[in-house]
Symmetry: C2
Subunit: 328 residues, 2 copies
């Protein structure tokens, strides 16, 4: 089969042996994969424990074509849970948990072999490209918002950094849930795009008075879902309502330089970390997406022959939605 192989010298489309599914596993003939920041970080060498050669890609959609111990799955159009070996606890992954794509083979290939219980029917209303765009971002968004954030309707929810793939799906989930969506970004264009998808207001964090403007007009949010971190976290401590929850699933600005913990305890703030999600989270996310008709936003669809330029698009943070790779 052909596969996009990451070597120390870079990415190469190569011919590699086609994997074979044994009992407990299925093989999926992939039609589409999607890129995540993780893939670009690994390409740049900015990820722990990088192994070469590696076939990247955590997101994929395709059709099951080999299923020795689960023949009913044959011919099903599926998406793949990007997490392997979560472990026994619901509240955190175990020590052997891995994300699909390095060291395990990822989805940037014609075929992938994965445990039977990692595949789920692809939501019927989604194209292959949309379905491939969903798994990692949708799972991360679901756990952050619904499990760790315990989001509910009739609340006000602030989603920061609305340009990101996960943030966009968090926003879609908030709207589908019937909660009030506020967003922040450093780009007016991304705020406008979020308003078109249901945000009631957006705030440019390049404007220092953004949080006063937010609270004076909409009141403090009950829940914030954040991936910015850094000094921005202290702004979030200011803006969150007393007793409110901040879920953090990333920190593009790095560590928080001087966290005002006195405000954490005086305001009874709940700061909760979230990463990826359990197999149950994945099932629940897909069920919700199917029921509410959410469609992940696609930035571009490129052929696996143009994969390098797809990665470059991520490197420059140009995308406003997922970058999808057509495999066939």
């Amino acid at each position: 089969m052909k596969a996009l192989v990451l070597r120390e010298t870079g990415l190469n489309l190569e011919e590699v042996p086609t994997p074979v599914a044994t009992d407990g596993f299925v093989r999926v003939r992939l039609s589409a994969a999607a890129l995540n920041r993780r893939d670009q970080w690994i390409r740049e060498g900015k990820y722990p424990n990088i192994v070469h050669p590696a076939i990247l890609g955590s997101d994929g959609c395709g059709v099951v074509d080999m299923a020795p111990s689960a023949p009913s799955l044959l011919g099903q159009r599926v998406v793949i849970d990007p997490g392997l070996d979560w472990g026994v606890r619901e509240d955190a992954q175990g020590p052997t948990y891995r994300v699909l794509g390095m060291p395990d083979q990822g989805t940037l290939a014609d075929y992938i072999v994965t445990p039977e219980h990692n595949v789920r029917p692809a939501p019927q209303h989604l194209t292959d490209a949309e379905a491939a765009a969903l798994p990692l971002a949708g799972l991360t968004a679901w756990r952050a918002l619904m499990v760790q954030g315990e989001a509910s309707a009739d609340t006000t929810i602030l989603v920061t950094g609305i340009g990101g793939g996960v943030a966009g799906l968090v926003a879609d989930l908030v709207v589908a849930l019937g909660a009030r969506l506020l967003v922040t970004s450093t780009s007016q264009q991304k705020i406008e795009a979020a308003r078109e998808r249901g945000a009631i207001a957006g705030f440019l964090t390049t404007h220092s008075g953004w949080h006063k403007e937010l609270t004076s007009t909409y009141g403090p949010p009950d829940l914030i879902v954040d991936s910015i971190g850094g000094a921005f976290m202290n702004d979030l401590f200011t803006v969150i309502r007393p007793g409110g929850t901040i879920v953090s699933y990333g920190s593009t600005l790095g560590p928080v330089p001087s966290l005002g913990i006195h405000r954490l305890f005086w305001k009874q703030i709940r700061l909760i970390g979230s990463t990826m999600g359990t197999p149950t989270d994945f099932t629940n996310m897909l069920e919700f997406v199917e029921r509410t008709g959410i469609r992940p936003r696609i930035d571009t669809v490129l052929s696996i022959h143009d994969a390098e330029s797809a990665f470059d698009r991520l490197a420059r943070s140009e995308q406003t939605g997922k970058v999808v790779i057509r495999i066939v």
Copy 2:
């Protein structure tokens, strides 16, 4: 009546008008009060919105001697909920919430008038001095451990800074609950005292390898109740088990200088602020203390005529338990 009055020049025992209870309020003839760090901070001018003159004291025990709209309370030995006007939400206090003692009259006086619903029967197994030592620390400990921390038996709970009054009560609650208690301190003597009260082990945080020693012997704790904050929080992020909870009710080391938020989200840590507690928390705490026979530890009992030296003892952090003021 006599009262200890804080003026800009310092503390003075003075004769002041005896307050009178109107409908909805009761008057308590106080027999004992207890000091908290808050009192000393106000004395030192290190507290927001200080008003002079003020009668400090958030903790008290005494007998109801005037109750115009609740005659059944007359003659009851009571403790006083140190919180006024918590507000409507269970998850955080409202904007008009105050702690007893500055600006409202505190317990360092012969009498105090307080809302009817702020008094509760004093636990029967406690002396007046012990009962007076309980309210603020017990309420803070209860909410931090049981409400925000959702503590349960069959878990391992680490209580930091075991010398403090709240930490000591958290430790007692952990033991009474049937969970495994680990403690930290900078003092071997305080660790020994905690072991005598049921801690299975204690760790000197002056020894840089303390957290490796802890996790290698006892495994990572499920819950940490902390009042240290500062750079110590990053050690707690290292020691907590994935998916575990850290409840913060103080930060004697101040803000966290560079919080590694990537560990928060990757380990799915829950960092939850806690301060004081609701009227319901106060009731539940007293019921638990009465049922389990917990006795707050008393450092010293001094007469209100020696109140200044009692405050000085707090200023030097010499106490290993509560400093109680005998009023009568």
